[in-house]
Symmetry: D2
Subunit: 360 residues, 4 copies
């Protein structure tokens, strides 16, 4: 008999349900009916902390492959607060999680999430729980895996937005900035920018010089192209900002007179070029809706790979994409590491060769 708990944690994204289904279906397929019991833990680690969970039925996992969001609910439980006592309820969170794990008599806890989630997964693993995790995030910034699920679906949506904006930009002769999600990693902006035919792509990894951006736009105008498209990550930073100390950065952000960096850039472009410049922020739209086929297959594969580790009793790992294969990677190796876009990565080089301005 295997008793397995599943939770999804952090910002939701496309493919969570597909992955949950992958884990569950593979387990139900392997074990006899009375040999496997799956518990759904509600709203991520919060459910594990406060003991909210329910026993699932096989039918709960049917028909969810194409559904966005997560049938288990999710919440953000910052890693840095995991060791902090919840005063209001006088709860030691780590202890509470271990207790509920034992209350359910789990053989294993399956965790789907991004960077913060993996850190807590590693913590629980070090605390002696059997953990298997899956790499989920539209940011694609998880260490140890070629790609995360949710990423391609978000790229599809952001690209669709750029496509639509393109026709308006052309018709009106405007500059348009599409602000994509991504505070620290520019994967989403980079891929959507190339796929959407952006003229300028600004990502956190490559601090931008506003003069370079302006020059690019002016050059386009000279060539008779009276519109320009900028794909800008919400975490894009200028070279001046990048040169600041951590403290100065915080102050600069706090004092910024714009809702986000894109509005600042838009203002600077308008000032310098006189060209009408607009900003569109698709926001949470990027993480919702049905997963794209790429993510459905990826999530399913990661799900069955996680199930295999459970069957083998091989714990303490995140399942990760490595070329054609899905392999286990120790949580201790990946927790706390961010995978950002290498400044000289093949994709960035391709963008430059194409003539896209990367801001530097």
């Amino acid at each position: 008999m295997k008793r397995v708990g599943i939770l999804t944690s952090g910002g939701d994204c496309q493919g969570l349900n597909a992955a949950i289904r992958g884990v569950a279906k593979a387990l139900y397929n392997h074990y006899k009916k009375n040999e496997i019991k799956i518990f759904g833990i509600i709203d991520g680690y919060r459910g594990l902390i406060y003991g909210e969970y329910k026993e699932m039925q096989e039918s709960d996992f049917s028909g969810i492959l194409t559904q966005g969001g997560t049938i288990l609910g999710t919440s953000r439980q910052p890693f840095k607060l995991m060791r902090v006592i919840d005063d209001e309820n006088s709860i030691d969170k780590v202890k509470a999680m271990k207790e509920h794990y034992q209350e359910m008599k789990l053989d294993c806890l399956v965790v789907l999430g991004g960077n913060g989630t993996q850190k807590t997964a590693n913590l629980l693993s070090q605390e002696g729980l059997n953990v298997v995790s899956l790499p989920k995030t539209i940011d694609n910034d998880l260490w140890g895996t070629d790609v995360t699920f949710g990423f391609q679906s978000a790229v599809d949506i952001a690209t669709n937005v750029i496509d639509c904006i393109h026709t308006t930009a052309t018709s009106h002769g405007r500059v348009f900035i599409i602000e994509c999600m991504g505070h620290k990693a520019g994967w989403l902006t980079l891929y959507a920018g190339i796929a959407g035919g952006a003229d300028v792509i600004l990502i956190p990894e490559i601090p931008y010089d506003i003069n370079t951006v302006i020059k690019t736009i002016k050059n386009r105008t000279k060539k008779g192209k009276n519109f320009s498209i900028l794909a800008v990550a919400e975490g894009a930073i200028s070279k001046e900002h990048a040169a600041l100390s951590k403290k100065e950065k915080k102050a600069a952000i706090a004092e910024m007179a714009y809702p986000s960096v894109s509005y600042k850039i838009a203002h600077e472009i308008e000032e310098a070029t006189g060209q009408e410049t607009r900003v569109t922020v698709p926001g949470h739209f990027q993480r919702g809706g049905s997963p794209c086929p790429y993510d459905r297959t990826l999530s399913t594969r990661l799900g069955t790979a996680a199930a295999k580790l459970i069957i083998e009793g091989n714990y303490g790992n995140m399942v990760a994409v490595r070329g054609e294969d899905i392999i286990p990677v120790p949580l201790s190796e990946i927790a706390g590491k961010l995978k950002v876009v290498p400044v000289d990565s093949p994709v960035v080089r391709s963008a430059r060769e194409l003539g896209i301005c990367m801001g530097d």
Copy 2:
């Protein structure tokens, strides 16, 4: 020999190229090759004022049915400035438009646009030019026609955004506001709201009481539904605001501490319910990209109907949808009139019967 000028004016939207193609193809189909000449006027009325236009070829109208935007370019030329002299260039705009019309030796000017555009079209008609116009706007707020092209495409996009946000709202137990375009008319918000399964729909025509909105959200929570979706028009107004004088309204808007009404509402909901409340503003995304099949057929039909009026020499009209038919409606009858959502329209009643909160 017929000589026809075409221009697209105001904010771009889906279906402009399909409509242009409809006019052109029907003319080329009717006349012998050397009997018809079509001029494309660049960037709307601006091109007519400043004499920017080009002779088009039949092939220019091929392959554009599915393209967003307008191959002719567009610009906003406020009606209220049409009689105002352009000091910088010492240009009497109306006089200049008439001169360029004569320079091209036009038999007729075809104008595609929304409310402002129709007003200027009427002005030019009164000034003696032969004008045929087509009803274009995602706002669906043109008087005299059942529907405008661009509207359904915008509804499709806004609904898609609501669909995607829905999964995030459910997974996180959040309140989400999707702000749809529409300063004075709520058609887009109303239709996208119903199609997207919104729980609350706020449109400019029905001033809202924030307490009613909050009560609706609280009632949902009581019923175990820990998320809510609000479709809010960018022109939605509170009952307090509606009661103000025109002057006071202006001052109130100028003083508003939020980027838009949705952020104000979000703040009030969070304060009153303690529930995390987020805003998504798809913005210009709503007016771009390929027209939906509904708009392609509609635009094509309006285009061929306009061509028919040209062939017949029946000028001074906007082509309008009336039931199954496309009919000519005198510009003088529709110019300057806004078609807003009747408070007791069948669609609003249906929304109420369904249990949707309309804010009042």
Copy 3:
């Protein structure tokens, strides 16, 4: 206390669940909790005949707005067999339906379906049952309503197929036939054909002359357009075929050496022009998947209108679209009548004006 039964009958289409939800939500919204009971009858009239039904809960109608298909299941129960005894089970179907209606103590039966379904609905109404029906079909061929739900969603899909085929046709210089659903009515083919930019549209209402079709393709080649797109209804017929007696027609169809009329036309075009000609049959794909926003709003409105008739006790009607309104139309007036495309309808005229070959 109202007791309401709901069934969906005939081929499934987009918007069924949205309509069911509309009926149910409006009823739950109007009545107190213990004043309304809704029964779901399984697999259409079959469930009513054989007594398969279940009491529904309010939550059953939640989250189904965007789902394709029908949560109640459906089946084809030909009208002409309704009066025929089911020998195997010795069941008088009409009697059985009345008995199960009484067994459930229904105040009213809500029926969603197309032409056949409406005929049986009328029969049951004449037999004394309280019936309210909704117009469902991708064929748009129901008498008494401007439009049916499912139609626009099918147009969207068929247009998408034509769009995709277009690029292949252009790249290869081929003739392509896209065969759309529609045995007797050409609405779907006509609207998808115009929206997809078809060069030839063949519908059952306008028998085609293959020579006219071939001439059109040859003319395009002469003009340098080495590809052509034909949208052909599965029920398209040649002039020769149209001239046959009913008996001869049946024989002709039975003897036809091709899977469908499109393959016959493709063969004739290839023979006459030497141009590679291919056929694509999207088939059931056209009736599946999530309803488009247009259909969601339409289905919802029809649903709430049906609920209103139930609340008022106004039975024996189909809810129908008439301009901006939804009105009740007596079942006796519409049952058995087919709404085909008028040969001189505004849309057909527009297609002709555009230069589209209608085959005649």
Copy 4:
């Protein structure tokens, strides 16, 4: 000065224009204006054989990123006929291609295509022409590259078809077969099948036993699931067929009483289970329309990588995806080799672990 010829050959697919644009933009970006000249060769190798080509302008490559098909046209020129004299025109094809290459004074020929195309590219390379090729095919069956462009777009379309069919299958309690493209390789069927939630996936690489398929469907019925979805490659073969000699196979196919293998399987299922079984064949729909964002980025990257080889004068290679990188692979190494799905590949294993019947 570099003089570059480009051609696209074989069945068209999504991403061809994006790749062409990638090559061209990177070349224009690298060279001064008068240092680079690009020739577009019309309709694939046919244009090179018969001397149909045109000098391209930079603007020809603008705005084509999102367009399906190929702006250069394409045709199928079987490799096995390349050495055969075209009697009608007394043309030695290979000689003619070399002559036109010299006539254009090319430094290099860029070839985009699938397996047959790569074989001819290798032939021309061995004949002394400078060749760079790109891997294009929805079949994903090219040796030497992790993936080809066009594949993911086709998966997206096929999955969408399965999604839509799903709702009909469920509502009617039917068995549905979706026949995907792929004569020799099952990649498309396998990935679309998993992404679409198919219950059975039949690919050419794994000959199927019809009894296994039937048993799977019956088991589902027993579990209360009255519908089943089969994703079947057009080249799927039964175990009996696989055991035949090459000659016997040919005869068997010639004698088959069904339009394709899917209809045969449908018939056998209906016979054995009594369940209504339908077939949908999306056909050419799968290779048309706008490339998905994944393919746009991939095509662009392959395009810029090809441009880099041209700049370096590194000829005789196909650009190929290898992990994160794009690398050159000698044409001699990959020509004539087919990459089929390994029977024990990680994706097949995942499908089996999930409980999907692979037919064996």
